[in-house]
Symmetry: C2
Subunit: 312 residues, 2 copies
Amino acid sequence: MSKGQAAPILLVALGGNALIKKGQEGTIAQQFANLQEPIAQIARLSRDHRVIITHGNGPQVGNLLLQQECCQDVPRLPLEILVAQTQGQIGYMIESSLDNQFMALGLEVFKPLVSLISYVVVDGHDPAFANPDKPIGPVLSGEQAAGAAYPVMHTAKGWRRAVASPQPISIVEKREIKRLIGMDFIVICCGGGGIPVVRQGRHFAGVDAVIDKDLASARLGLEVGVEVFCMATDVPGAALDYGQPGERFLDSLSLDETRRYLEQGQFHPGSMGPKVRAALMFLEGGGQRALICSTQEIEAALAGKAGTHFHL
Amino acid sequence: MSKGQAAPILLVALGGNALIKKGQEGTIAQQFANLQEPIAQIARLSRDHRVIITHGNGPQVGNLLLQQECCQDVPRLPLEILVAQTQGQIGYMIESSLDNQFMALGLEVFKPLVSLISYVVVDGHDPAFANPDKPIGPVLSGEQAAGAAYPVMHTAKGWRRAVASPQPISIVEKREIKRLIGMDFIVICCGGGGIPVVRQGRHFAGVDAVIDKDLASARLGLEVGVEVFCMATDVPGAALDYGQPGERFLDSLSLDETRRYLEQGQFHPGSMGPKVRAALMFLEGGGQRALICSTQEIEAALAGKAGTHFHL
């Protein structure tokens, strides 16, 4: 990169496995330890990229919901507040891990970094509100499910609370994030897909919903002009016939191929589907480069040596 | 204020009653409703001040601790992480309330605003660690207190967990906050006094402690060059012989008077004492103007018509 030219903006959306790996209980020590590998890569990448980090919050918000169910002595908090709590928790964990990686790399690459509370506008008439289909929180007994004050759904794990997952329309802090990135701050934001709010006249109001973090990241990427949108997860990339005998890993996908495979139902709606849709949203909206890779291979994927790359 | 001259920087440290008033259960609706009065004043003050908002988190972190005690199914989180969660929660509540106040005032006064996760360096050898004297979390039964895996203390309410309250040395995000204020962002930060960390070689590590939010705010005020440091609480200001027949409200205090009254034990160590000490720290460190007022009278106090004013 030549002097005087602004570094490209890289958005890394960290999947849940960056914090809790399959089979782990998810102690705080495990979460900090798991973060080191992806965060070390992001610290190194920040030397020639401007960086935004977003992240999921599924197990963390699930634990807060479970605690609320257990404890009758404390006023219940709505889901929007629990999402805000996980933004604080995970934002701190990512920011302090990044700080530590910078100290390890040496101060010459130390950039200012901030972890922001983010909320995201959704449409109160989004069809998702009529059909809550995102399972969250603990597994419920049959009696709990039958008596629940909220919608429930049956999942592979059993009965769980179901919430709406509306489309992200706009990130409220987009102007702030854009200015921070313009000054080469590293920005951690949109945790858990953002705190969902609807516009009511001249006010915002929080709503009981969760926003897919990859879709929110794609929206943010378009709003602030991200050049590379990287979704880091627990598999090396997207595959056809995933988990079948004929499974084929995809290293490159055009927009037309992406649309066709989505129509064929190649990508599981609970895992790879939203990521592929987020890549599509980003490219259709004017983005240039989207990719899906494992949290171990962020640098390799950026160098074109790993991951699934989406192009026009 | 003349054009071209930077607006003075105002730091408002919001006390717990800005969120939960005495006798309230503390539902989320109550917390949002209580915030409107102080936040409306801060929104108006932002027209001719650059603004930093800090806040307490006592009842909120207490509720999270209580939930952890109730619920055995979820891995325990250390206190630092709970503080981070409350920064997310309360940061969101303040930011969205401010957003709504701006929308009500009209867009011409709309400033960029961010709510930042903040951590604060303390000394691992601070004498407070040998003498944990800050009560937090729920009241414990005698058996719970006897069997607790952590220090406990007897308070007016009964047995409670005791944690160290070390002195704040430096706010880790001070450079970032200073740059944001320089661009006239409104910055919400240092929630709950900040997440306490100690330096261990080239790393930061979280510690089980809480930092007084007024002392942390005074430290931040000095580090970023705040002109007016305003602590808003549930009383009109500091008083001599508080709660006694001869109670006298103080509208103005010199540094010498402040030191003398502190030595006389005029200010209660659990309430007004830390505020007066924070005012003293701010002025002794080079700050110009500190004041203590009620959350209803922030604008009046800034105009010199209410509150206790500290001067050199």
